[in-house]
Point group: C2
């Protein structure tokens, strides 16, 4: 497992801490902005939204925005980067609310999901509120270029969600389609979050391209690891139950690889459990055995390392600073979660 | 019932036709833009979206945008007013898709609703797609002021939907709250649709204020009539079933007035049927009898005429042209639907 070598020459497990600590002031302001922008005369809106947005989450996406801005030398005292970071978190939260309705999820970050507490209807509508509020924030920032990036990213996310829905239960989904799905539903927002950080700092040349690529590859790696964790993680680390994807018949890379590499009997098993959702006691354990046999979780993590390496290299053009080191460590952290 | 006096001195029933015919060229371009902007590599998206957007609908909101722009002397050959009209229709369509999920509706415009054909999940996600695509269209138009108006309107719509959800089943909802709900869920988008027509024509002074007010009051009147029709309309005129609101326990003005004006026995009836949704054979007919007795549908239409009058007066500052006459007739049409 990758270790970080500290200044004192010691090795330690990669962590998000250095990045969080370098961006602590900005993130405190982001938290405040999030709370302020959830306000509404309709009490259910802040109540439901704060259940999801207020607590828990690692705030990876807004962290990317403020870190990118700072990496690009953003020193302005105004609050446009804070608004953009808030906007990114709201887009993410809106999609989580709608996802949990679509996936009939019970848990989110270890707590009951909003839909299981307030019902599907409230979750759909408060998700819409967060979506539209995020656009108000973008408009406040006042850059048409940034609006273009974030509105295109939002459309891609919606397309990715629909693509995931239609490819659900199709066990012969190719890896390429799976990649398109996770680019759309996860990586695109990571990419946009980082890209707009560069834009707000006025770095529209190579730095913007580099940070977009950093975000995209980090996002792909992040989702690959998430999908692997669903079969090998411990609930305490994930805030969701092991096997959720399996029970929902979600087509993720560990399943795709196990299906492709398996024989006739294995394939019948995957068709029954994933396509027909005809699941019995012991099926999840058997799925884990097949994945172990075919290295499909290990190779999913191998793919994640590949994208992680591309993310790291994307930062090559920036000079070495503690912030850059912290961003590189964030990539290692995203991958090391699986160990 | 109001009649329109033609040039030849004949009286005829108010119609949307004059407005549609004056804006026919623009509306053909809007139809084309709608089709083009629904495209996506994910086939389910245009398939589901065109089921709703492609056919049926009166396209009242985009019609307001192009008519307002033309009323304000917009002569430009570019397509910004077409994009804005498309954007407004997409926002409307997104909310319809989500509404039908939230209301568990079976019919929409006389056809099976999208959720009843493709399921709730697809409707939620394709609704998100239309929302985000509408923001891309706004960004294309390139005016931050217009983006501000439409993004604020979208947030208000989402707030209105949540407010409607939380006041659902509360029979003691005051008329003022009901008005807030219909302003949010219907009138605000009519208002924004008309307002951005003035803005794109560069009329940011009194014309913009007047058209915003025209749209708002027309929207309120329109929704009041819709809510009245739900108890007295014929299915063929409405594209939805008579009594839908009653069966869903929706608190609309006809119910509010009948409850307020009724005695103890009546109130028990409304509590049982609307709050507890404990409905039996003959309840809808009894509700209609109570409404007849207390004039609650008639007075809902009276309220609609009040807002209609304000809408008409808002156009006072514009000189008399066929287009203005057609807009005034559209107000009469919105109200006369109920007769």
């Amino acid at each position: 497992m990758a270790k970080v070598v500290t200044l004192e020459g010691k090795r330690r497990t990669p962590s998000l801490e250095p990045l969080l600590s370098l961006c602590a002031d900005d993130m405190t302001r982001v938290d405040r902005e999030i709370l302020a922008r959830m306000r509404s005369p309709v009490a259910l809106i802040p109540e439901l939204a704060s259940h999801l947005v207020g607590a828990g989450g690692k705030r990876m996406r807004p962290l990317l925005t403020v870190a990118s801005a700072r990496l690009c030398g953003y020193r302005a005292d105004d609050d446009r980067h804070i608004k953009l970071a808030t906007c990114v978190e709201f887009i993410h939260s809106a999609t989580l609310l709608h996802d949990d309705v679509v996936d009939v999820s019970i848990l989110r970050r270890g707590k009951p999901s909003a839909n299981s507490v307030w019902g599907d209807k409230a979750s759909v509508l408060v998700g819409d509120f967060l979506f539209t509020r995020s656009f108000e924030l973008m408009v406040d920032v006042g850059s048409l270029d940034i609006l273009g990036v974030l509105s295109r990213a939002s459309t891609t996310i919606a397309e990715g969600e629909v693509l995931q829905l239609v490819s659900q239960r199709d066990i012969s989904t190719p890896e390429a389609t799976y990649l398109e799905v996770i680019k759309g539903k996860t990586a695109k927002l990571f990419a946009a979050a980082a890209e707009v950080g560069a834009m707000i700092a006025g770095r529209n040349g190579p730095e913007r391209v580099a940070l977009e690529s950093f975000g995209m590859n980090l996002g792909i790696a992040f989702q690959l690891v998430d999908d692997a964790l669903d079969y090998v993680g411990r609930q305490a680390d994930m805030g969701k139950a092991v096997g959720d994807d399996f029970r929902e018949g979600k087509i993720t890379l560990p399943v795709i690889l196990a299906f492709l590499r398996g024989g006739v009997v294995d394939r019948e098993f995957w068709k029954r459990t994933i396509e027909k959702l005809d699941q019995r006691d012991g099926d999840l354990e058997h799925a884990q055995v097949l994945m172990e046999r075919h290295n499909s979780v290990a190779d999913t993590l191998e793919r994640a390392r590949h994208y992680g390496a591309m993310a790291r290299d994307a930062l090559g053009l920036f000079s070495d600073t503690p912030l850059k080191a912290a961003l590189l460590e964030a990539v290692d952290f995203a991958i090391a979660r699986a160990h």
